[in-house]
């Protein structure tokens, strides 16, 4: 069995790649493509009569495959199905880093899953609070309740919109400029930032439309998303490219952190870097930039 370290609530999650938990050939080494998180799917990708088989396969994958630094999140079946409780049990027993709650519409939904997770952690002797949660918002109600969902639990690390179902509810289809989900994305981002958790955009499903995919990723970055859900490994590289900081940003962040160390050691709270006024409020952003830069192979120092 492969021991996994305690999951980090706030880590780099630029790319979360979906994988059918029932396909042995896929899940055995999904991490080789270099995505930040893999999303093993027990929900839509698994046929109704194979839910049981997928759980056995998931359990042994979690226990025996070394996913290294790649985060392993499992998408469980909806709370309106007979499957989700057993899904939670297998995720906790197998040691998944996180659970993605499908079709989440309220803080109560989060609490319901959280309760089941707590029970499972007790049942399987897993450290309490280890298993993280994220919510997928797939309906107008989910979007309207985004803030209460985002702030429902200390286990919540992020929230994602699920475009397929949401667009159906809204009677729209994917638009080139993203106007179909502009408000929903914005509302979800506001809620996530207000609650202090991460926010992820939906999948782009037309693999032949590279141009459309790239436009959407650029918009995601511009809107302030932390990352994106993906359906194919070949989408990873571009997302990482777009989400990478510029060389200028990296140098600036490094300067800020170095100056902050020197100045705070000397008891100075506000100082200037390249003529710009800097205080403690700039530090988390600069640290985030350097962590991102390190993940992108652009930074090898030891400030973060």
């Amino acid at each position: 069995m492969i021991p996994r370290p305690r999951p980090e609530r706030f880590r780099l999650r630029r790319t979360m790649m979906f994988m059918n938990a029932q396909k042995p050939g896929l899940i055995k080494d999904a991490y080789i493509y270099g995505c930040d998180s893999i999303m093993l799917d027990l929900e839509d990708a698994v046929a109704e009569n194979q839910k049981d088989a997928a759980r056995f396969s998931l359990y042994h994958a979690l226990r025996s495959i070394d996913y290294g630094d790649t985060e392993v999140v499992v998408r469980i079946n909806g709370l309106d199905t007979p499957h989700w409780q057993e899904d939670v049990r297998v995720c906790v027993a197998g040691g998944a880093d996180g659970i993605r709650i499908a079709k989440c519409e309220s803080a109560q939904d989060v609490h319901t899953v959280e309760h089941a997770v707590e029970q499972a952690e007790r049942e399987f002797g897993v450290e309490p609070g280890r298993t993280l949660l994220m919510a997928a918002l797939e309906s107008p109600k989910g979007i309207l309740n985004a803030y209460e969902i985002c702030s429902a639990s200390e286990r919540m690390f992020g929230v994602a919109i699920s475009g397929g179902d949401f667009r159906k509810c809204m009677q729209t289809t994917p638009q080139r400029d993203g106007v179909d989900m502009l408000f929903a994305r914005g509302q979800m981002l506001l809620a996530a930032r207000a609650a202090g958790i991460q926010c992820f955009d939906t999948v782009f499903t037309d693999l032949d439309d590279q141009e459309g995919f790239e436009a959407e990723v650029r918009q995601n970055k511009a809107m302030g998303f932390d990352g994106k859900s993906l359906i194919n490994p070949k989408q990873i590289r571009f997302v990482h490219q777009v989400f990478a900081p510029t060389q200028k940003e990296v140098i600036q962040a490094e300067k800020i952190l170095l100056a902050y160390r020197e100045q705070s050691a000397a008891g100075v709270g506000v100082f200037t870097v390249d003529g710009k006024m800097i205080d403690v409020a700039f530090i988390p952003g600069a640290e985030r930039t350097l962590r991102l830069a390190r993940a992108c192979g652009m930074y090898e120092g030891d400030l973060v």
Binding site: K23, K51, D52, F56, Y59, V90
Partner: protein, 100 residues
């Protein structure tokens, strides 16, 4: 566990294995075919028999068609077939107990 009815789990896709289990009376009667028989046949058989033993299955006819599955997949397919044959595959699986 006692095998009550025939059950099947897994597919014939590459890297998977299809396990069929049926009630039997004469211990474990295993029929194994594998695309990697010469190099891994004995290890595959050991993995299957160990999984059955953990589940306390002592009488069954078991047919495994292996398409190059890793051990974790073999175990998953055997266990699923056994739980299905007992009608117990949907909930309250003893994760970390006899399933490990």
């Amino acid at each position: 566990m006692e095998i009550l009815k025939p059950a099947i789990a897994g597919t014939l896709e590459s890297s998977d294995a299809q396990v069929t289990i049926e009630p039997g009376k004469a211990g474990i009667e295993l029929t194994l075919t594998s695309s990697v028989m010469n190099q891994y046949g004995r290890q595959i058989r050991a993995t299957i028999l160990e999984a059955l033993e953990r589940l306390d299955v002592s009488n069954a006819r078991v047919t495994v068609v292996d398409k190059g599955a890793l051990d974790c997949t073999l175990k998953a397919r055997v266990e699923c077939a056994v739980f299905r044959s007992c009608g117990q595959s949907a909930a309250n699986i003893p994760w970390g107990g006899v399933v490990r």
